[in-house]
């Protein structure tokens, strides 16, 4: 056994450490992929429609309930339908940009610095 030869457990330790580090970086990639838009056109169309409809449904629901509760005619319903549509567009925009479902702009903060430089 010469000096240059590293003992077997230590050599595999190196590989295992590298594996663990790779997995850590892969972790953030998996998160990005989960938020990214689906690859097939049908999946994309389905997801976009679900996002818009869900936000619109919430808007209509809130507006309708508030109108019944406050007796303010159709006005809150109209307002919340518009807000719901805007929220749906926001969801789709976030999905298309790969922000995932996160409300807020955590990812833009990280990217903003890069964009300002270019």
């Amino acid at each position: 056994m010469s000096d240059e030869q590293t003992p077997e457990p230590l050599r595999s330790l190196d590989a295992r450490l590298k594996d663990a580090r790779d997995r850590e970086t892969e972790g953030s990639r998996a998160r990005d992929q989960a938020g990214a838009p689906p690859k097939s056109a049908l999946g994309l169309a389905f997801r976009v429609s679900v996002e818009i409809l869900a936000a619109l449904a919430v808007g209509v629901g809130i507006g309708w309930v508030l109108d019944r509760w406050l007796g303010t005619g159709p006005w809150l319903l109209v307002t919340f339908v518009l807000l719901g549509g805007a929220a749906g567009m926001l969801n789709v925009y976030r999905m298309a940009r790969g922000f995932g479902y996160a409300a807020g702009y955590r990812k833009t903060d990280a990217k903003a610095d890069n964009n300002e430089g270019t």
Partner: protein, 243 residues
Amino acid sequence: MAEAHSPLAQFDIKPLIPIRVGDLDLSFTNSSLFMVLTLVAASTFLVMGMRRHALVPGRWQSITELSYVFIANMVRDTVGAAGRPYFPFIFTVFMFVLFGNMWGMIPYSFTFTSHIIVTFAMAIVVFVGVTVIGFIKHKLHFLSFFMPPGVPLIMAPLLVPIEIISYLSRPISLSVRLFANMLAGHTLLKVFAGFVISLGLFGVVPLAFVVALTGLEIVIAFLQAFVFTILTCLYLNDALHLH
């Protein structure tokens, strides 16, 4: 007779053991039966798989451990170390949806995930739970979720309601995705199966289609369980790590 062959007849809820409490209909239905079967199947799969807990796993134990590691990795990748305490819940959700979907792939069975009330109930549990966790972890700071940093204050009256609606739409999009995929897939299968008889000799073509679609449906059953679980993880991640 016609409605018995309707492609939608498979989604009918049939009470098996009628139970009435006051005005409430608490009957044990075919939907409940398949939920119980799902529980039994998932528990059997896990408990029996780990019964021998050999150091060198056999086939069954390998699959059991694989499913554990699969979800454990998903939780670690999406939520990080902070997600460890929630692993049992996420694993349960995954197993329940997956086995429910897979039971539905057996002919003459009932797919309870094709009913929106079932998926919505699960989604609302996830949604309320995640929101409560967010409030416990961050107290009222959690409300900063709805006011992204760097937004001019004058935009707040417009942006905050939009963000809140966007947040509230989560359980709906979460449940609709699972329910619509299962509903559409199973209806499609039944529609094509109906063509097999009515086309006579040419029924071979739709039959081949049904075979291919069944394979696709099994993939979708797994994929939708995966999507439901990973979205749960992502929502949890948002609540645990505020920006």
